[in-house]
Every structure is written in structure tokens, then in C-alpha cells.
Subunit: 494 residues, 2 copies
């Protein structure tokens, strides 16, 4: 049963001339009927309410009795008085709950950029558990919940008052030191913790950085096909998006230079292009950095799942050869640990550190220290490294399971490249087919097929196929899912 | 000692013609000198590195030995090889850490709104513990840390995989239900949980809502003097701010109607104007709602510390009489529990729910479910209500301590109104003096005096005095602080 936190009640001001008992009865009845006092809510004790409003305690008790007789509240000795679940006049709607009156209220018009801000490509409600082949998610069943709870309990017990107040807007320094060390050893990025900023998500980092750097209407390069999350958040910041095609070496830099030589920013996924999976070649990296230098542009490097590599050498980040200090490197713990944690980070150019500090402080104050302190403890105790090593072995096995299932069941109708890294892989339909229709047919049988065509801003640039996630599924689930997909490919005309 | 999470190392690509041992030695030495491998970082085991780069294990071992002989690394049998704390060539700077090279790199220019976004009025670093009279903070020493840790441990142990994935962008439904019930009973707001949105901070809610509603250059009313956090975040969203004076009945609505009849939004603090503490009168509330209806404007009601009321009746929120559904009601747990939690909420007009869902999903995805689940458990178990009731008694006692100290020591040089609610009070200097100079002199002796003049956007509108916080200090600390202030008033010319 719910309680009223703090046990105070805000009643309308008494109208002169009405008796106290009549006023209190009408006020409570109206709050119940309008929904301010929802079914199941406990009313204050008669003693508290009488003191608060300067009434005789007997007056309050009489009103409670009258409301009970009328069916608005129900009481139990020693437990208190609660708003009834079924209300007597509720269906007569003489006094409808206020929030339901909204349809006749005029609606608030959105601004032009507001419309873009509201157009999210992400799910707008909690998702059901993943079924094959949901991409871009880790195996949440394998997360060491018990260890996480134990670490959290120990750490929170040792909370000091100064951890409870707002900290550095850029984030908790020990966590930023860990991230700087990791960016150095695993991604080749020489940086100090002072350049590391903690965000709630990569989306937030993109939002803040693009607002800091772009005047509304200025050009930004974006990969085509490319990540819709980045495309939409840049558009909502007022960017004029220039869609630059991607080939087997990644972003076609020369195309970008022809199309928008004076762009202020370019968003790239050099480790594994999203969604094609192609790494940006060394020559293109060089060309991109040289262009950015000439144009005075910023480069945003989204390293969304670079940590999972199953074969070949780890690629150093674009940021590692950024001698002109123009690359904003973005990483996230959503895919390394779990998405609901909501901790991401940026390694910033030195010239952006001050502005990002101010902007984070102004628009969010900071990412919760509670989370940052727990994550730091989890890393410092070695649990993070252990988890990643375990997951890399697991995901490699699953990548192999998907490759063999593809050979076995799909007979070339859906082409898989070699899986070297990541949590998912772009499988191409041959010949090009209607991936959206297939995805829809698949959804009816609980198959999650993310169509590749959804990653293209322009229909004409679309490649067709699916971004297939393998990380959260057992080899058996992958095999069964692949057979389902094979039947779909046979029976659904595309 | 720090570990390299995942134990992978991103080395530069070998140049043809260099021997493997020579290449590996140079690559590691360069990473150490540039700072990619920071002092104390553990190098991968020889077995892992040799496998990863297809080298003989003996080659890797020789390189490690050579680096140790040269002083770049230090090893201990069974513990691994670590980058040395003191580097041999570090001072010669032949190869400076890459991030220190930034000064000669060109800096990234900020956009016009970016400059505003970067101009935060909040502290840009972690603060030391509060000393008298820091305003706007609760007593963190009184927070029940042990209870919080116990609740968290129990809840996190029961984490299910589906809590680990991204949830509803508006927030965790059980928490939103608690908030809707609380807004109904304590603030008189009839709402459903569907209208409640969880944010990281009130600042974030303001940022999202103003970007959704305002075209750049459109007018927004703001109180003068008023809350700098709101003023700056609205400006960074492109609002043209219209500063509306405040008198003893709160915002002078008629002035706003004359100055900017077609404003799209008004930001108000009706329960306790920030910083003056004046509640918005009933007549002004009605006038404000009527204007908003005629103008088609949105009203933002920031209820920043309305929950702490020591005398008088709780005032129903402006939102409780918002029959036209134009008021965005904002509340926060920062002052009820602790700031580092970073959970705030909005009760939205029905016509904004969909847009805010999309915007939250796009720019942050959601506030961490970990935090929301813990907060919900803390509330549902009754700890929240208990804490608020305890704190209300404590803060009332402290408010009284401040009132008596003011009478005793300040002899009218600093005038305190009756304290009815909140965590702080606006004390006026009589005659008007230089509150900034006094604050500076106070800071030298660890007195935190927040000048009221800092709340005015225009010097001419400034009132002088201090926003004095009493909530986090014992009656003894308050008395001692008040005596310090008295000496300051005597000796510093203002």
C-alpha cells in the first residue's frame, strides 16, 4: 500500500462563509474525484491534518467517517484511511480527473528544431528480452549481478558526505583515470584524465559537442548509410547534414571534400563502420585528418563496440594519430556492461575541455556520482577486465555459430562477411530484396531483423539486408533463429 | 595497481623492413613516452601479446627485458610487467605526451549558442564540504547511508536481465507512479504516471522543454532577480529573455504582459520565489494562467524546495489549477535526498508527453535505471517519507536558530524575513551595500555568503544581501557563523 511521503496534504484555500467541516469534506471529495488523491493513497492521520489546518480533531474524524459512508475512502483500525479503489461517482464524470481533461485543452506547439528533437529513432518504451537477432546488445544473462550487488553494497556503505554532493561536472576523477589508462593501452590514445568527460550516453556527448561547435545551418558530414542515432541528434542541433557514401574502405573522404569542403564537423565510425562493419582504411584516415586540418573542422569518432575483437590486431583509434587535436573520441559502457547503466565517455581535444565542462554543468550538472563510483569500484577490483575477457570468448564462439549457420541454411541468399569484431554483423540480401517486408514478416514470429535499409537517409543509397546481432544468444538459439530466417527467405516474396 | 582491462594493446602497424624485435621495442617505448601507456599500467602477459601479434614468445620476453634494463618498465615475478613511475627520457621531451602538444594545435571555434552553453553559473569542480551559510543544500551528514546501502544491495542482488536493458525513456514506471501519487497528495496536482518524466536534473528538463517549445529568438519571461541556472539554460536554447520584476506578491505579471505579450514561455518559482522567497499570490497565479491561455504560452513551474515547510499550510502548486494544461511542473530529489543522486522529474502537460519521450530518447536515451530502481525501493520501503519528516524537524530547528542569531548579532544590518519554508533565506543588507565585496571578504575566512545581487540580470534591478543556507548546519555552527558575519559587517566597508 502506498504512503504519502512526508504526510502533508495541499488542500484548496477555504472559501469564506463555508463551515469548516463542509469545506474539508468538499475539498477531500474533489481531490479524490479529480485524481489528486489516487486510489490506494493513505490520507494523513486525523491528528496531523487537524494540526496542519488548525481544525478540531473531531471535525477531521467526522469528515473521514462521512467520506467512508459515501464510499470514497475505506479505513482499517490501526492502519489508516485509504482512498477507495472503486469510486462511487467515478463513472458519472461530473468531475473527471484533471489530466483526462487534456483533449479539450489547447496543445503546446513545437518549434522547428523541437520537431526534430522529438523524432527519436530509438524504442520509445521498454523492450521485451532480446530474441534473435537483435543487434547492438551484449548478453545481459551473463552479467555478474551478484558480484555487482556485492561491490555496490560495500562501496555505498562507505559513502562519505562529500560524495553525496555534486562533484566535477566532467565526472569522478578516479573513473576518468581508469578510462584514460584504458584509452591509452587498448586504443592507443595518449591522453590525460583531464580530457576525459563522463556522459549519460554517447547521444548526450554528441548533443553537447554539436551544440558547442555548430551554428544552426552549418554543414556536418555523416556516413551514408550510417547510424540514425547520430544523424538525428546532429539534425536536432541544427546541423545541415551532408550524406557521404561509404565503400569498402569506409567513408569516401574525397566525396565529402567535393560535396561540403567547409563542413564544420564529421561523424565517423572508423573501427567498424555502422552498419556495414568496414574499418576506415589507413589512407582514408590520413585524408580525413588532413581535410579537418585544412577546413578547421572537428571529427567525432564513435567507437561504439571497438572493444570486442575476435581475430586480427586491435586497431588504434583515429584519435591516436590526431596530432592536430581535432578528434572527439566517444566510447560507452552500455555494450561492455549493460545499457541501463547509462555511462559513456569522451576523450576531448584540449581546446574543448573548458567548454564541455561548462555545458555539462549547465545542462545536466553531472552524471550521477553514485553510478560513477560503483563503476569505478567494479573496474578497480578487476571485475570489469574479467567480464570483458569472458565475454570476448563467448561472443567469438557465437560469431562462429552464426557463420556456420549462415553457410548451412542461407545458401548465399543472405551473405555474411567474415566476423572479426563487434556484437553484430551486416548480412546482405542477394539479390537486393525488400528487407523491411522481411523484417515485418519476421517480427510476427518473434524474429528481430533490423533492416539495413533503415540506416540510409536516402532510399537510393540503401543497401538491403539485416544487422544481425549474435552476442546475446546461445549457439543453439542462433542455429534455430537461422533456420527460421531461411524459411522466411523461402516463403516471403521480396 | 591498475590493470589493462581486456588486456589488449593497440600497437602501431609494423613498418616493412624493420625486424620484429626492433619494431616491438620502438612501438612500446613510444607508447610509454607519449603517455598512451601511463605509469603503473600493466603490460599484457608475454603469452597474450605474442599470440595477438603473431610473434615468438621469446621475442616479446626479450623486448620486455630490454625495456626493463632501460628503465621504462619494472617487473615482478608472478605479478607482471608495469610501466615505470619515473621515465628515463621524460624530462628531455624529445617525445612529449601527445595531449600536451595541444597548445600549438589550433583550437576548435565555438558557435554563438555554444558560447552560452559553455557559460555555466554552477561550480565547475567538486566543492569542499559546506560551511555556513551555503544555500540550496540539504544536510548530507544526516543522510542514512547505511540504510541506503542495505536497500541498494538487496535490490541489485535481485536484478533481472530485463532491468539491465534500456527501459522507458520517460523513466521507471513504479517510480513515476510514486511521484504521481506524491504530486497529487502533497502538491494538489491531479496527474497520471504517464505525465511524469524522469530527468537527470531540473536543468536537463528545462533544456529539453525549452528546445522543444522555443524557436531561436522567441521571447521567454524570466523572474528578475531570478535563478541564474534557468536564465542561462534558456538563453543557451536560443530564448530571447525578458526580465520581469518581482515584488512582494512575486512575479509582476502585468509588467510581463506589457513587455512581451507574445512570449512563448514563462519560467516561475511560485512556491518560494528564487531568491527572494516570496510566494506568488493567488491573484497573480490566476493572471499568469489567463495570460498563458491567451498567448498560447507554456509555463514552467520550478518547485525547487517546496517540500520543506515549517509553518503555515502547504501551498498547492500552480499546476494544480492549470485547467488549460500549460504548466510544466518541475521537482527534484537533489535537495530531498542528496545532489549526487541526480534524479529530477517533470509533470508534463498531456500535449508534451510524446515530444518529451522522443527528445529524452534521442538526447540521453534515459536516466539510468539503476538509480531509478534504487530510489523507488527507498521510497516504497518508507525510508524516504521517514527521512523527510526527520529533516523537516531538524531544518525547522535550524531556521529558528538562524532567526534568533540574526536578532542577537546583526542588529538590523542584515534583515531576515520570517522563515516559513525551504533550505535557505534571502537576508537583505540595510542600507543596500556591496554584497559581493562582503562575500569576497567572507570567503577568506571560510564563510560562504551567496550575494543576492548575483541573481539579477541587470545591475539596476539588483537587491543586495545574501541567500543564507541553514539546513546543513547545526545550531552551534549557525550561531558561530552569524557572529562571524556580524564582525564582517562591522569591519568591511560596503
Amino acid at each position: 500500500m502506498r504512503k504519502t511521503p512526508g504526510n502533508e496534504l495541499a488542500l484548496p484555500v477555504p472559501k469564506p462563509g463555508k463551515g469548516q467541516q463542509r469545506w474539508l469534506h468538499d475539498a477531500l471529495r474533489q481531490m479524490i474525484l479529480r485524481g489528486s488523491l489516487a486510489p490506494g493513497i493513505r490520507l494523513p492521520a486525523t491528528r496531523d491534518l487537524s494540526r496542519q489546518y488548525g481544525l478540531a480533531r473531531g471535525t477531521v474524524a467526522s469528515v473521514y467517517e462521512q467520506l467512508a459512508a459515501e464510499g470514497y475512502v475505506a479505513g482499517a483500525v490501526g492502519r489508516g484511511t485509504f482512498v477507495a479503489g472503486e469510486l462511487p461517482e467515478n463513472m458519472q464524470a461530473g468531475l473527471r480527473p484533471l489530466w483526462r481533461a487534456a483533449p479539450q485543452a489547447s496543445s503546446l506547439p513545437k518549434s522547428r528544431l523541437g520537431h526534430m528533437l522529438a523524432a527519436s529513432p530509438f524504442p520509445l518504451a521498454a523492450l521485451p528480452p532480446a530474441t534473435p537477432f537483435r543487434p547492438a546488445v551484449p548478453d545481459l544473462r551473463a552479467f555478474p549481478t551478484a558480484v555487482w550487488a556485492r561491490v555496490a553494497a560495500g562501496r555505498l556503505r562507505r559513502s562519505r558526505p562529500d560524495w553525496l554532493q555534486d562533484g566535477d561536472p566532467l565526472g569522478y576523477v578516479p573513473l576518468r583515470r581508469e578510462i584514460a589508462g584504458y584509452a591509452g593501452s587498448a586504443r592507443g590514445i595518449a591522453c590525460s584524465f583531464g580530457q576525459v568527460a563522463i556522459f549519460t550516453s554517447v547521444q548526450q556527448a554528441l548533443d553537447v559537442c554539436s551544440r558547442l561547435l555548430l551554428e544552426p545551418g552549418e554543414c556536418a558530414w555523416i556516413e551514408e548509410p550510417g547510424y540514425p542515432g547520430a544523424r538525428r541528434v546532429l539534425a536536432a542541433a541544427g546541423a545541415d547534414l551532408v550524406h557521404i557514401p561509404v565503400d569498402n574502405d569506409g567513408l569516401v573522404v574525397a566525396h565529402g571534400i567535393r560535396a561540403a569542403p567547409n563542413a564544420r564537423l564529421a561523424y565517423v565510425t572508423p573501427a567498424r563502420q555502422s552498419p556495414t562493419g568496414v574499418p576506415l582504411s589507413a589512407a582514408r584516415r590520413q585524408a580525413l585528418l588532413e581535410w579537418a586540418h585544412r577546413a578547421g573542422a572537428a571529427l567525432v569518432e564513435d567507437d561504439y563496440d571497438g572493444e570486442y575483437r575476435f581475430s586480427g590486431r586491435p586497431l588504434a583509434a583515429l584519435k591516436s594519430i590526431d596530432h592536430d587535436d581535432r578528434v572527439i573520441f566517444l566510447g560507452s559502457f552500455s555494450k561492455l556492461l549493460f545499457p541501463a547503466l547509462r555511462i559513456a565517455y569522451a576523450v576531448l581535444p584540449a581546446s574543448l575541455v573548458e567548454a564541455v565542462t561548462g555545458a555539462l554543468s549547465l545542462v545536466t550538472r553531472q552524471t550521477s556520482s553514485v553510478l560513477q563510483v560503483l563503476l569505478h569500484e567494479f573496474i578497480a577490483d578487476g571485475h570489469f577486465g574479467r567480464h570483458i575477457r569472458r565475454m570476448r570468448l563467448k561472443y567469438r564462439e557465437r560469431a562462429e555459430a552464426l557463420q556456420s549457420a549462415a553457410k548451412r541454411y542461407w545458401q548465399g541468399a543472405l551473405l555474411l562477411p567474415e566476423i572479426e569484431a563487434g556484437l553484430d554483423v551486416a548480412a546482405r540480401l542477394t539479390p537486393d530484396g525488400n528487407d523491411r517486408a522481411l523484417a515485418k514478416a519476421g517480427a510476427a514470429q518473434r524474429l528481430e531483423l533490423r533492416p539495413l535499409s533503415a540506416y540510409a537517409a536516402r532510399e537510393s543509397q540503401a543497401i538491403t539486408g539485416f544487422l544481425l546481432g549474435f552476442a546475446p544468444f546461445s549457439p543453439e538459439e542462433i542455429d534455430a533463429g537461422a533456420r527460421q530466417v531461411a524459411r522466411l527467405l523461402e516463403h516471403v516474396p521480396c
